[in-house]
């Protein structure tokens, strides 16, 4: 391939990727213009697309994930385990030879070294990148159930464990045999013989089902037939041990069950990630029998993406017609095999004609019934499936037919042809209407209606120069209004400030902000009114879902009308309450509203000076309209974030007053509940009241990141670490762009004493805001110190120290680390350089340093100062590892009691 050629291929490939799968073939027809080899190249590349591919993901493939490259995997124990295996051992088992190697790992033939009677076993060694803990936990849960399976056609599971290098392994009965499809073809079994063999397979699966075990991964390679012709099912229940069913159980959303399954045999519900029942095994058995009887798979697809779609949507070809196909399938090696009507018939019923005749009718119906998309419409059990096959073999009527409308109509017409054509045509009309309805509901919904948007970002509206506050103030009020919908995740405007409307394509902004839809627009003043242009764009394809051009409205009406219309365009299924909240009325005063918009504009920038401006403007707005609830809420929020001129306790008292005032007027404002929750801690140590307030805020607007963020602080403070970390994850998912959330995630891990995860998290802090860098250094330094890595901790803290504003904090932290590391002299030297006079003194760090210097009086003194100042770090003293040395000091316990943090009893 030449570079020029690659550019051509790349351009076409990129264009094809942007189109929906079903339009690609048509597009390539046109674009390649008869250049067959060009088209073949692009198509071959397209087959490597995976369903989880996202432009933003840095994963190259399942094996090539950036996070797989760790720089410190333990070499020693791994080398030992490697040597073990090279010398033929896994745990207490002696390896005889390797049997197979696949996606999950390798399978070995082995025997127990210390066994008196040498039983041969098969050992499945699980690959490294599977979640080891998860596999083992699952295995422990399942092994009793699995060990109870005792059936002549099931290979039992004996044992399991972990190798020295941490690879889980499972020990099973060793079965010598051939995969069922190879066996049938190799022995040229005819249809009847194949059906009989399949019945024994069904008996084994049915037996397991009565013991509450679903196989989940039925496929030919899991069904071996011994030389005596006895089928044995392998890996019963293993899929459950290995498959995380709920993505929620793992932190990595890309790990879904589908990866671990064999997609060709997976049921629609498995593909969709829905609950798995015995009906899934019925389906997989259906695919297996389809293949045994016809030599073909039910769907003709080129890649896994197409397969997944076909399994969910496409009707399988009737088995009796499938055998007339000629197709290329992957062979045992890399070369494909061509299967033809002759090749499949030769090993079954001698000729294609005979095979067609054999399959047509009963067997067609039986297979299609097993393969129905809806699990409820398949055979209710494997037993029913098997019973129908027996019925067919014994020439009795099969159930599969009776269930089919077409079959009934057929019979009816055949028997009473000419007598009741009206009835027939009525049935046919009904069927057509039904099909049409299904088709319409699938294909002709207006764009947007079928695809419910999950997330949206509102970009700052474009304005005339000097009116910038109007642009992001309006965006902010619209975004806040939309947050009242429980179904839509709204990125806070502070995240979208970098992407003003019309400064880039909405699709680009949407990708950057990781949302499904973008609302952007412009606003211009025209006298007392404003002229608004706005559009809602779907990021996936750039289509416009809603727009409003040159609308003239009074400024006060804009927020309500736009948010209501956008909410409707985004989610047609909003509840009445949500609609009311979104269209909630604010103030009647244009002047107050103008001030409010300015306040929000400053508020979103979050720097101390700008917060001060915001507070002033919220207060002015309140002066003009004393019933302006949202202005009180904004004021309360601004106060909890802090301005330097006020002591913490004063700020919190002001926040509390403003929040309570806001709630008196409108008790549905979650911003006010949230601010109240934060203020109640510092004003009154009212943990119960605070929890109630946060819960109310979250109940009102589950998609409000700030509520989750601040609530997590409470949970961490009282040692409910898992809940805290979960709350922060929610905050992060709603607004991944705010550095403070990522930092706090790290801090929550730190306080939960999971230092490695804390470090990982600190290193993930977004680059956006330089100010946070001091925090990254500082927090990393402390985390290294807790791990005892002082040589790493000290340079980090020295860097933190160079940030002049926070000098004393950096110094005090250094003193703490020196003291903790046993270097008392250096610790005292650094301490002597700190002028502990200002209100902002780093009391907690100082307390930590004194703790480790053995000066508990001084440590307690510092904590008392921290308590008096009501400074934020006081909140975490119950869990902070720095204070471990004085946990038993009665004065410390008394402090906890005064803060309402003493443990009961």
């Amino acid at each position: 391939m030449t570079p020029e050629r690659w550019q051509k291929i790349k351009a076409l490939l990129a264009a094809a990727l942007e189109r929906p799968v079903e339009e690609r073939a048509g597009f390539l027809d046109e674009a390649c213009n008869g250049d067959g080899s060009l088209r073949a190249e692009v198509e071959s590349l397209l087959t490597h697309e995976q369903p989880e591919d996202e432009p933003d993901s840095r994963v190259l493939s399942r094996e090539l994930r950036p996070e797989n490259f760790l720089l410190s995997e333990s070499g020693e124990s791994k080398t030992r385990a490697l040597m073990d295996r090279r010398h033929g051992r896994i745990g207490p088992y002696k390896i005889v030879r390797e049997i197979a190697r696949g996606g999950m790992g390798a399978v070995y033939l082995a025997e127990r070294a210390d066994d008196q009677y040498r039983r041969q076993v098969a050992i499945k060694l699980i690959r490294r990148d599977m979640d080891t803990d998860f596999v083992l936990r699952r295995f422990r849960n399942e092994r009793q159930i699995l060990a109870a399976l005792d059936h002549p056609n099931i290979a039992p599971l004996f044992d399991g464990g972990t190798t020295e290098d941490g690879l889980p392994y499972l020990v099973m009965e060793y079965v010598e045999g051939l995969p069922i499809n190879t066996y049938c073809d190799g022995h040229s079994l005819n249809t009847q013989q194949r059906l009989k063999l399949f019945e024994s397979v069904c008996a084994a699966v049915q037996y397991a089902h009565t013991h509450q075990v679903i196989h989940r991964d039925i496929k030919p390679s899991n069904i071996l037939v011994t030389k005596d012709g006895v089928p044995k099912l392998l890996d019963f229940g293993i899929a459950k041990v290995l498959t995380p069913e709920m993505a929620a159980q793992t932190l990595d959303p890309t790990v879904t069950g589908l990866h671990l399954m064999t997609p060709a045999y997976a049921s629609p519900e498995q593909v969709k990630g829905e609950p798995i029942t015995v009906a899934s095994d019925v389906y997989s058995l259906g695919v297996l029998l389809y293949e045994l009887l016809t030599g073909h798979k039910p769907y003709r697809v080129r890649n896994q993406l197409e397969l997944a779609r076909a399994v969910v949507e496409e009707e399988p070809a009737r088995p009796s017609t499938a055998i007339s196909l000629t197709e290329e399938v992957p062979g045992a090696g890399s070369s494909p095999i061509t299967i033809t009507p002759d090749s499949v018939s030769k090993v079954r019923e001698a000729t294609p004609e005979r095979l067609v005749k054999r399959l047509r009718g009963d067997l067609d119906n039986i297979l299609l019934m097993a393969l129905r998309k809806d699990p409820q419409r398949r055979y209710a059990s494997v037993e029913d499936f098997s019973a129908d096959i027996r019925a067919h073999l014994e020439n009795r009527p099969v159930k599969a037919r009776k269930d089919s409308i077409v079959y009934r109509a057929n019979k009816f017409v055949r028997r009473k042809y000419g007598v009741a054509p009206l009835v027939v045509s009525l049935i046919l009309v009904g069927v057509i209407v039904l099909l049409a309805y299904v088709w319409i509901s699938r294909n002709s919904k207006p764009p947007g209606a079928d695809l419910k948007l999950q997330s949206i970002a509102v970009l700052p509206f474009k304005t005339d120069a000097g009116d910038e506050y109007l642009g992001d103030g309006i965006a902010d009020t619209i975004a806040s209004a939309l947050t009242n919908s429980k179904q839509i995740t709204v990125r806070p405007v502070r995240a979208s400030l970098k992407y003003p409307s019309m400064s880039q394509s909405a699709v680009d902004a949407g990708h950057a902000l990781q949302v499904d839809a973008i609302l952007e627009g412009s606003v211009t003043r025209v006298g007392d009114q404003v002229k608004i242009n706005a559009q809602l764009v779907r990021v996936q394809d750039g289509s416009r879902l809603w727009q409003s051009s040159d609308r003239l409205e009074p400024l006060l009406a804009v927020e309500d009308s736009i948010s209501t219309e956008v909410a409707r365009a985004t989610r047609p299924d909003l509840s009445e309450t949500e609609r009311t909240l979104i269209a909630r009325h604010n103030t009647k005063s244009v002047e107050a509203y103008n001030l409010y918009l300015q306040a929000r504009h400053f508020f979103n920038r979050r720097k101390p000076k700008e917060l001060q401006y915001a507070i002033e403007r919220f207060e002015q707005a309140i002066k003009i309209d004393p019933t302006y609830a949202q202005a009180y809420a904004g004021l309360a929020h601004a106060y909890i974030l802090g301005i330097n001129q006020l002591a913490a306790i004063e700020r919190m008292q002001k926040a509390k007053a403003a929040a309570q005032k806001a709630l008196e007027i409108d008790n549905t404002l979650s911003e006010a509940h949230m601010a109240l929750g934060r203020a109640l801690i510092f004003c009154d140590w009212d943990w119960a009241g605070s929890e109630k307030a946060f819960k109310r805020a979250i109940e009102l607007t589950p998609n409000y990141p700030d509520a989750h963020y601040w609530y997590s602080h409470n949970l961490t403070a009282v040692g409910r670490h898992d809940e805290a970390i979960a709350e922060l994850k929610l905050a992060f998912d709603i607004d991944p762009f705010l550095p403070r959330t990522v930092l706090q995630q790290g801090h929550a891990f730190y306080l939960a004493r999971q230092y490695d995860r804390a470090i990982e998290q600190f290193l993930r802090t977004p680059f956006d805001v330089d100010a946070t860098y001091y925090q990254v250094y500082w927090r990393l330094g402390l985390a290294y110190a807790q791990k005892g890595l002082y040589a790493d901790a000290i340079p980090m803290l020295q860097k933190a120290q160079t940030f002049s504003e926070e000098m004393s904090l950096g110094k005090a932290s250094l003193a703490y680390v020196y003291a903790k590391s046993g270097n008392a002299a250096e610790a005292r030297k650094v301490l002597s350089e700190i002028r502990a006079s200002t209100r902002e003194s780093p009391w907690l760090m100082l307390a930590g340093a004194y703790c480790y210097l053995g000066e508990s009086d001084k440590a307690i003194e510092c904590l008392e100062k921290l308590y008096e100042a009501h400074d934020a770090p006081i909140m975490f003293i119950k869990v902070d590892p720095m204070l471990d040395n004085i946990r038993d000091d009665p004065r410390y316990k008394d402090l906890l009691r005064r803060m309402g943090l003493a443990s009961k009893g």
């Binding site: 690659w6 590349l45 432009p55 190259l60 094996e63 950036p66 720089l71 394509s505 791990k787 860097k799």
Partner: protein
Amino acid sequence: MDSESPTITQLLVEWSHGSQQALDQLTPLVYDELRRMARTYLQRERSDHTLQATALVHEAYLRLIDQHSVSWQNRAHFFGIASQMMRRILVNHALARAAEKRGGAGEKLSLNEAVDVARQGEVNLIALDEVLQELERLDPQQTRIVELRFFGGLSIEETAEVLRISPATVKRDWSTARLWLRRQLAS
């Protein structure tokens, strides 16, 4: 570091302003630091400390660069070279380990064995490096994009900034490179 010579931060800023000489001086300094850090982490394995390679690039940045005096563009440039180095370090490491195993045991380590001992990552990495060299011949810029994203941990936007191209181009090149790499690796 010698206080007479320019700091890494200064070199980075100069390079961003177009000084090739600054880049020549900067490269070995950053490379040494990355290698030193990588070594430290490898020695630390007994303390059960693991760190992702991309996080290491990030940490090197924190250690080496003075946050006060750099701009967003400087940051991007740093990641530009560091991610390329990270690729070399990881691949060299993988090759060295493979050689060590062969030498140490006096037997040739089969690919299967390598896969087996959970050095899957290393085997894949060596293979990835090979196909990236192929891609380099076809499209050097696209190769850079893969390095920045995969080895440097950069986002689409950050990558665009480093290479001074549009995010849309990065996205296109990344998505197509991903398919191409997969196909080459599968064959």
